[in-house]
Subunit: 284 residues, 6 copies
């Protein structure tokens, strides 16, 4: 698997800003990084490749340009293209079938982000609307610029958000709080500060967008010095905890670690600890 | 279904302060809006009617008078009336059966509030004790006055809260936090500020009770301008997420939207968006 | 069951600072209260005994000395002793089996803390690393001193935390938030203030460690004046809510209270309420 | 609660053929006991009343006339009446909402049968089509006459069975077997013998319909001699087991029996056992 | 989507023996239809295509030649090829990661069979070993020839079956019965008759393999005359029932049918019923 | 861990009839092997020891004497001894607490049988009543003698079975069938033949009790020739499937096998397969 292959993508800049760190940049700034059909599948392909790439330990996800992480779905393109909503199918059950297939397919793109074995840090700024919430909710850690304008926008286009937000927002902010209902039912925008207060992001970075990227990169580099076996196992087990009981998750953890604790990382980490050295770890 | 029928209720004022908005006011202020048997069933009847009423898009729930949303169960009435606790049944298993039936019946009233298809905004002030927590936890959004005195009071009457608080509080504040255990185990009162900090309410309204009602009404009117198909679907899907996995909720969402995205609301909302107009939507 | 038996423990001071309140102090201060094998099993034995002791209504858990609640696993001892990691087993599947048994056994110690029928208040200060998080996450309420240094340390020794943290942290802080992922993936230390902001503790006590213990004791005494039937039922039902649906938890609550509401505590509490007296309750 | 009130029902004969045994007979034989709207709600009212009636310990459910338990939904009436399918609603999402409400309401009738605290024995004969499967699947024990013609008929009217069969058939016959898929996908009729072989019924009664009723009555009388606390608890716990883990069900059982084992029934049953007498039990 | 494209597959014969019926034949008879890497992915591609093809209503799956449905994994090829087991990775945790990815990828092939929207009828004969059980368990209906030799073979190659059998066998035969444990723990072969008795197949076809195919085809043609909306909905809802509660499945069914009952199939089926005609349905 | 230690048990004969096979015989034949308090805890100790003993691969469980596997609880002893039912506790909630602890403790004995890492074959004959069903339901495979008299007896002593039967019977026979409800509600005895027909046992052995033991031993020896990694993994994964979704179980299986497939057993088994030799496996 060769990192130089990353140059082949059309709607995303994929770069390697530091060892073990890959930066995915949504690259359609002239349209506020709004998504249309080919972009979805390119994103899925990128994430699936990085998930198994041993040269990757941490991924940054951001949007190109000064104005937006992503403004969400490109509604004009959606209206134009042969999407299921515009399909000329008279029978409501048959139309429902085609729509359901489409939703499941798009959900699967966002789920590929969530399932990526390597941690993904969302670095969001400017408009982070609709799909921007779906996408960043599927990441592991969220930092935002102070100027970010968030919005669970779907109610404003007449539908319940269906590619991930409603399923993952309660998971990543802690329940179906009054605030979650408020922002999802009303489609009102909310600020970086409000996102921080309500646990959607864990850090608001002041300064320019470059500062945000810089801080994300520093964090990603830090994570990349850690045991990849430990980091990726931690991600998997934390995600498996949701919607399941503590007892089931404990057992799952024991089965996971039965194999993983045999890692050379444990010996290296312990030895380095005793010797006050920084350990290095084999690729994963 | 005629809105004028609302005049018939005895313990609740049910009014229509704005188009699509219904206001339910608990109306027993001389007893701090404490509940006794006939009130429970009236509340259930009201909520079930509003749930299906196409003229309703958002519901406000508050308490009459200056002193309380509700002080909870009317303990004196409970002691007097023929309630299961006082029933003269010697056999503990038979008494348990009668008590269980009673609890399930009262839980079903609170669950009717939670299941209502239309969003319900709790506007609480003053004493919001015991049943006041059960009831507001079953609503979607909670605003409170600055003077609100909250209390999960049940431990002080010798029992674990059993009509909803212990099941819904972790859902609406985000888990079984140290704070949830603290207020539920100790039955200590907590303030509006503490409720806000711990995500139980999403807004504290300063000023008089009238200001609280006014702010709630403004918010309800705002929600009522939105697509009812989108708003009500969002509520349903968010509630279905709790205690289930992300994967199950994603699939449920796809099935839900397969039918719902065919709504005229989507076309109206999209068209209005392009034309920079405010859309109107058919009744639901 | 005799409280004087508490003197027999080797690695823990178990005292009775007030009626109905037991204080467990991890007592290996010269090693920052780090755990090694015999300590685990002693802790389990203590907690299981207290769980059923009618003279106990609330438990405090703290660490001896000024420097640490617990620094976690005693890595040197672990390296020395015949632990599974060091076991000379060539076949990875057989080694996995031995490791899994060991993890399940240690998890069961922490789960004994979580299952204790009586509420446990963790009073943490100084180093609260690794196992310190597992242990305090299994308690019901967490207070900390202002000087506490928290750390989900396991990633730094090359493994995913496996005796409880990853399963219980999302439960006690409200979901798999950006912050939970951050501290678990990075193994970075965090402060008392950050723990409070992110709902891991519900109180930061300023002043000396003695002030922390004093405040914990005062709180435990307060809980001990409450109906033990109500308090212990509330704990059980709240814990049962996690990872299960609201509907299942409501039914469980009704079955629980069918028996428990027959308690003399209800009559005593109600009567005392009407008479404005402080009730006393039978042992449980 | 007076058993003589049973005479008031219009579409069901409700009789008391033996002490503690109530017989509900679907009584529209001229239409093969096919259901139309008012029948559903009458059935629900009957079952809810019997569920709490202390004079009832076991219920028999059968169909009047020689030809059918029930042929299912009365399609002609359904077409005529103002049912949601015929409703003139152009918008598919609004029509979906009305249909969903209707399905949930009908499901709730069948679920009332399943939730009835007393065991219900379905005694089926002749046509047992569509709703006949929904209804008998919600009962606890199923006996059938040798002439019974079963059919999961819904596919033949163009829809997936939606008031209970698809949810309960896997529960009552043991999984989503090849046979379950076969009869549900194909809507092919199956015989009493096939129903017995595939565990849908536990007994095929040869002879006349009167023999079937007689055998059911004998069995119901037998169940009615048993401890009602034990019988009703067994029903509740067995139903709670489905779709949940063994561990959760064990805990639920312990909580249930904590109250129920205190029953006088245990003492009476044990004493009678030692004295070789038949015990009698208090009403429940 | 063009059916003639089916000719392009290398290891499978894909034919259209009747309107709406597609027959997939595993075509490596010289190796007892044993699977090696490229076959897996071809199968997945075929099934995913058919799942959405409106010209397909029912799928038959069988094995070419007289000797086997499939003898399972081609162990010799597996040993030769660069499979993860042979990978030269010293660190057990890194090897575990590679193995886990491989298992998940193969499971996903079998799950694609299970998720196929159209019903799949497995027609098995001769050796149906290992993967043959995984594969047929993922189908909806299983018919077998009288000569079939079944075996959950994995224990004999030193591992627990991991691509589906252990997860789906309890679902399709009804629980973790003594028989399921027996055949899975012992890897002993079992006969067609035993498979029928234990509900793994619903029909044993006597005669030649051609008779089996003929009977399967007849059945598939019959299913294809039914409403595709009804058939495919029934499959989806039945599969969703497993491992979930009756209550959750009922709600899911109501949401599903809210959209699907609006189908023209319902009107066509009802009208044809009244007119005693055979209905025809639009493609899906 | 020394097998000779087995001689120390008082109420159980524990022998090693063949390599890797241990036979536990309930040894209180003069009382029909009825259980009283000390027996429970001895059984738990035995099973926990065998679970980790590398010299054990399969366990047989039977009852001494000609008359009974076990007649269940020794009711006379239970009445005499200081059991919770006889405890003189006036307050129903406090009595409930003591009873619940007792039930959980006894459940834990039966669950220790179910959790044993090695497969346990129940060989039952004669009276297999009450606890005999709890115990054999927790085993993996059940064979019985033709003379076995089964009975879910608890209803006859006035209570719902609470140490395992109601939770595990639906799991091991396939759902909450009409037959399960019948035998659990009625407490009627059933025969070996009926147990076989309803999938509770997988084999009825004709002849003497010695023939049953002989057949069980032969089967256990056969299982003991198989890879212990494969056999014990299969048991674990099959049990984990119950009450969970197929998707969750597939993922759990992948994690399990990630470590376990690295076993030397796989290489040995594959090599032996190619060389047509019987493999031998290292201890586990």
């Amino acid at each position: 698997m060769a990192l130089q292959n990353f140059s082949k993508f059309k709607f995303f800049n994929v770069t390697v800003p530091a060892q073990y760190v890959v930066h995915i940049e949504i690259n359609r700034p002239q349209k506020l990084n709004a998504f249309f059909t080919p972009m979805w599948f390119e994103l899925k392909a990128i994430v699936q490749q990085l998930s198994h790439d041993p040269d990757v330990r941490c991924i940054l996800l951001s949007g190109a340009g000064d104005r937006a992480f992503t403004a969400g779905l490109d509604v004009e393109q959606a209206a134009k293209s042969d999407n299921p909503l515009s399909a000329d199918i008279a029978d409501p059950s048959r139309k429902a079938t085609v729509i359901r297939r489409e939703i499941l397919e798009l959900q699967d793109v966002i789920s590929a982000v969530a399932r990526c074995e390597k941690p993904i840090i969302a670095l969001v700024h400017g408009y982070t609307y609709g799909l921007g919430i779906d996408l960043s909710s599927a990441c592991d850690v969220r930092f935002c610029a102070a100027d970010t304008k968030f919005c669970v926008k779907e109610v404003d286009i007449g539908l319940a958000a269906d590619v991930g937000t409603l399923s993952r927002l309660p998971k990543v902010v802690g329940g179906v709080t009054s605030w979650v209902k408020d922002v999802c039912l009303s489609a009102r925008p909310f600020s970086a500060e409000e996102a921080l207060k309500n646990n959607f992001v864990s850090r608001v970075v002041n300064g320019s967008k470059a500062d945000l990227i810089q801080e994300g990169l520093k964090y990603a580099q830090y994570l990349s010095t850690k045991s990849p076996v430990a980091v990726q196992g931690t991600k998997n087990i934390l995600d498996a905890a949701w919607g399941r009981t503590v007892e089931d998750n404990l057992n799952y953890t024991a089965v996971w670690n039965a194999g993983m604790v045999q890692s050379s990382d444990v010996k290296r980490a312990m030895l380095s600890g005793l010797q006050k050295r920084t350990p290095t770890f084999e690729k994963l």
